[in-house]
């Protein structure tokens, strides 16, 4: 997690073997330096509470996956848009948050907030769109749970050319967190319509990745792997890790943007998320049932033997209640 000045980065990008494959930009919930203080945990990940209102910090990182992405220390060109729960879209300005470039926004309402960064550039005749998306949940149990169902539906912004939408798990609610072994499905939208046959890759926190192509309906599914193996006494069941999904779509169409002309456009969309240990990692049915059945039979046998001993209640004369 080092900070690299952006111009140098651009230089590196230009000199990389695959100059068309610029590293994707994506939003991350994880703080650049853990020692800058801890944030409150909430159902939507780490939050900050100022005067009772939840605020979210997101940092911009670039790189393929969480394992090798870097934080940026200055802004990139492009618009940062926030679509709130009510559907209003407004532009945000980022800044330096705890030493790296990021955005901070308030989340007054319960539900999902979508943050978008659209960065456009033309390089060597190829127009690049770098779209970083983050979907943030705000939920506090104090608000109750009656309003959850209508707010679950993922929303999209049609002005965004390429957008990844995470489809909801079956029976998902505000308390659901993604765990190891869960299968998540993503829907890829190009200009608002599902895009089949595009390449989509999931990167997990320690460098594992999985690529596939979207199917006819524009969907792709990935299973989250387990990559958290601490010693038992250090195990945290709320250990949060980042994942990133990125998708690429190239459109062979020539055009111009002001002074530059291009022969093709490359869209690169990212979506981040968090995953946690699944309850199957630390909850054991086998032991639970073992203990329960042991208690049941021990008590049952104990009472039976106690009755057989005939001491306490003086029932020396026994009746046979079999009929």
């Amino acid at each position: 997690m080092t900070r690299t000045p952006l111009p140098l980065l651009m230089l590196l990008l230009c000199t990389s073997p695959d100059s068309f494959a610029a590293p994707p930009l994506w939003w991350s919930e994880t703080m650049p330096h853990a020692e800058h203080g801890s944030s409150r945990h909430s159902h939507g990940g780490p939050v900050e509470i100022r005067r009772g209102i939840y605020h979210k910090n997101l940092w911009l990182r670039n790189g393929e996956g969480p394992a090798d992405a870097q934080y940026l220390d200055s802004a990139v060109a492009g618009k940062v848009l926030l679509k709130d729960v009510k559907g209003a879209v407004k532009e945000l300005a980022g800044g330096n948050i705890h030493g790296s470039y990021g955005v901070n926004f308030a989340m007054p309402d319960e539900g999902y907030y979508n943050l978008y960064l659209v960065n456009e550039s033309v390089t060597d005749g190829m127009r690049q769109f770098n779209i970083a998306k983050s979907e943030v949940l705000k939920h506090s149990c104090r608000e109750g749970h009656d309003h959850v169902k209508p707010l679950m539906t993922p929303r999209r912004l049609d002005t965004i050319p390429l957008e990844i939408v995470r489809e909801r798990m079956p029976a998902e609610n505000f308390h659901t967190s993604l765990g190891f072994g869960d299968t998540i499905t993503f829907l890829l939208l190009y200009q608002g319509a599902p895009l089949p046959g595009a390449e989509i890759t999931l990167h997990t926190a320690h460098g594992w990745r999985n690529s596939t192509k979207t199917d006819a309906g524009g969907r792709a599914s990935f299973m989250l792997i387990r990559d958290y193996y601490p010693p038992w006494h250090e195990f945290e069941r709320r250990h949060r890790q980042d994942y990133v999904v990125n998708a690429v779509h190239v459109v062979q169409q020539a055009g111009t943007t002001g002074e530059d002309s291009y022969t093709a456009t490359r869209y690169l969309a990212t979506l981040n998320g968090s995953y946690y240990p699944s309850s199957r990692d630390y909850r054991s049915y086998a032991y639970g049932l073992l203990v329960g059945i042991f208690a049941l039979t021990a008590t049952g046998v104990g009472v039976y033997l106690y009755r057989r001993r005939r001491q306490r209640r003086f029932h020396e004369v026994r009746f046979d209640d079999k009929h």
Partner: protein, 328 residues
């Protein structure tokens, strides 16, 4: 008017109770599917862990959550919220007094069904001796105290946050009631931290003990229930009361024989008219099995709703005599 009263005093209490308990069981365990929500201040074990089906939440769950807030918050404005919750809980409670235990509680209903099973199998039940009764009766107060102290300890950062709902961890309702809606996930032992491991293991032990205990002893768990202790502390102003006229009592002990909780005072105390004890679940079996006219009565807001009558007693006992099948 007297014929209505006679009809009520002569009802088959067993059957009435069976159907009423079934109704409340369905309401509280499956009511969520019908979008029924009676709130989170219910004075009965409508388990909050039964996420989909619950028709309301047992007050102990939000109470423990609230008490576990940090002391700064709890003794500040949030404390008002806790008091408000407690007030709603008390208002619900005042309506039925401990009748919530005898007629509504799903865990109590489950125990009664297990008792019915035992009767069908012809296995006899166990009784406590007086010494055991006296000593074991204190456990529910101990559990109530711990239920308050442990979350407060968490709020004061003296105990790990994992113990936030200590009673819910050991309550057999958490394991058993969600099973009725197909959720078996509470039957696990959580190994993520030492605290959760110990608490969930305790919970499974208590569940096993509960099932065996309820088989051999009528309403086994109710004797140790902290909700019962909390009820009793609030029971003075409640609307539904159990009253005894000691002059009419012959101390025949019929009420004691049928009492699920084995309360001796109901038979032996002839001085105190307010005869409901801390273990009582207000099932009213004592009233139904008293042969002396007017010795025991259940009164709602001062109006007698169910009274012990000679005719009613004879009718119920005769029915028992002529029943061919041993129905509960």
């Amino acid at each position: 008017m007297t014929s209505i009263r006679d009809a009520i005093n002569g009802i088959d209490l067993r059957r009435f109770r069976f159907w009423l308990q079934l109704f409340f069981f369905v309401l509280l365990v499956y009511g969520g599917y019908l979008a029924i929500n009676l709130g989170q201040y219910l004075p009965t074990f409508s388990c909050g862990f039964n996420n989909e089906g619950r028709g309301g939440v047992c007050y102990l769950l939000p109470l423990q959550h609230q008490l576990a807030m940090s002391w700064g918050t709890l003794f500040g404005w949030a404390g008002l919220m806790v008091l408000q919750g407690f007030l709603f809980f008390s208002l619900w409670f005042f309506v039925l007094n401990k009748g919530w235990c005898g007629y509504v509680c799903p865990l109590g209903t489950i125990q009664d069904w297990i008792t019915g099973l035992r009767q069908r199998l012809g296995v006899r039940y166990s009784r406590y001796t007086e010494g055991q009764f006296r000593r074991l009766s204190l456990i529910k107060y101990l559990l109530l105290a711990l239920m308050f102290l442990i979350p407060l300890g968490i709020g004061g950062a003296l105990l790990p946050h994992d113990m936030g709902t200590p009673f819910c961890d050991i309550c057999p309702g958490r394991m058993i009631i969600p099973m009725f809606t197909g959720d078996f996930s509470q039957l696990t032992i959580d190994f993520s931290t030492k605290t959760t491991m110990v608490m969930t293991a305790l919970g499974m032990l208590v569940t096993g003990l509960f099932l065996a205990g309820a088989f051999f002893k009528k309403r086994f768990f109710c004797f140790f229930c902290p909700m019962s202790a909390l009820h009793y502390l609030l029971s003075k102003p409640a609307l539904l009361k159990l009253k005894k006229d000691g002059n009419k009592c012959t101390r025949c002990g019929d009420c004691y024989r049928v009492c699920d909780m084995e309360i001796r005072e109901i038979a032996d105390d002839v001085k105190e008219p307010r005869i409901m004890q801390d273990d009582c679940i207000l099932c009213l079996k004592c009233v139904a099995h008293c042969p002396e006219q007017g010795a025991l009565k259940a009164a709602f807001a001062g109006i007698t709703v169910f009274e012990s009558t000679e005719r009613g007693f004879i009718k119920r006992m005769t029915k028992g005599h002529i029943d061919e099948h041993n129905t509960h």
